[in-house]
């Protein structure tokens, strides 16, 4: 019953926060309105999100986020360097296959998103069974290193969070 009324508690929480960010004025009325919307919207759209992913270790999210933000900043500088100062001939793009241990779609998505947002990599495709990720690297003289780093730096942590 509660599951039906509150299909995605985390989503509800997110929405309440989003509401506060939108109205930008923390008042009891707004909080109430946010709460109502945060309850109603997931309820109405529950059919589109049939299964609820489990979060084993929510606190690990914070650490993960911090790492990603740092990596993003670094990524941007690196990419800017490549664009501005590296000749095209000296740049070595490469495709990399990342075998996946993750099984939840949500986790895979977060991993793929992270890859795209971080240094010189874009997650370009998944295998038809969902057990491998295709990543394109802007400049990767050593593709295997990229694969290992991704698996170690991101996938491991995500595995902890989700599975």
């Amino acid at each position: 019953m509660l599951r039906k009324l509150l299909p995605h508690p985390l989503l509800t929480l997110t929405l309440i926060i989003v509401w506060q960010m939108l109205v930008n004025k923390l008042t009891p009325g707004n909080l109430l309105l946010g709460l109502i919307l945060g309850l109603v919207i997931p309820f109405v759209t529950a059919a589109y999100w049939p299964n609820r992913p489990r979060l084993r270790n929510p606190l690990a999210i914070i650490e993960y986020t911090a790492i990603v933000i740092w990596d993003i900043i670094v990524a941007n500088v690196e990419v800017a360097y490549i664009i501005l100062f590296k000749s095209n001939a000296n740049t070595h793009p490469a495709w990399v296959t990342i075998p996946l241990d993750l099984r939840t779609p949500e986790a895979i998505t977060v991993l793929a998103g992270t890859i795209t947002l971080t240094p010189g990599t874009v997650s370009s495709d998944v295998s038809a069974c969902g057990k491998a990720l295709l990543v394109h690297c802007l400049d990767a003289p050593d593709p295997d290193a990229v694969r290992d780093q991704i698996k170690d730096r991101y996938e491991r942590r995500l595995k902890e969070i989700f599975e």
Binding site: M21, W95, A112, T116, V122, A128, A132, H136
Partner: protein, 126 residues
């Protein structure tokens, strides 16, 4: 003063990454390489502008808002999808099974995964 410097720095960084991203779009030789330029550089570019804006309104105009943060989050959520789709377009149009590495699994990359045609299905209307 510090605030001003912070904001100005944000603005300058934003401008640099913005223009670099768009420049990369022109400069880089390969479609997949071009994909790296804007999805990243622009993300920090616009992110910088948004943070600068947040700081500006919060600290100088005394009218702090999280709107900019929302946009940033939103862009961070969507940029990977956009990149993913553009990459898939490229794979679909310009690559084939041999030009890409093996998946290491039994199935091919999803873009190449053509399920066998099934029988015609009558019109479904609601």
């Amino acid at each position: 003063m510090f605030v001003e410097i912070l904001i100005s720095a944000g603005l300058v960084i934003s401008g640099i990454f913005g223009i670099v991203g768009s420049f990369g779009l022109i400069k880089l030789p390969h479609p997949m390489m071009r994909l790296h330029a804007p999805t990243k550089a622009t993300t920090l570019g616009v992110g910088g502008a948004l943070i600068a804006s947040m700081l500006y309104f919060g600290l100088i105009e005394r009218d702090l808002s999280f709107h900019e943060l929302m946009i940033t989050v939103f862009l961070f959520l969507t940029a990977p999808i956009t990149g993913h789709f553009i990459a898939k377009t490229h794979i679909h149009r310009n690559e084939n099974k041999d030009s890409l590495p093996e998946t290491g699994t039994a199935r091919p990359w999803a873009t190449f995964d053509h399920p066998q045609q099934e029988q015609e299905q009558p019109e479904q209307q609601s």
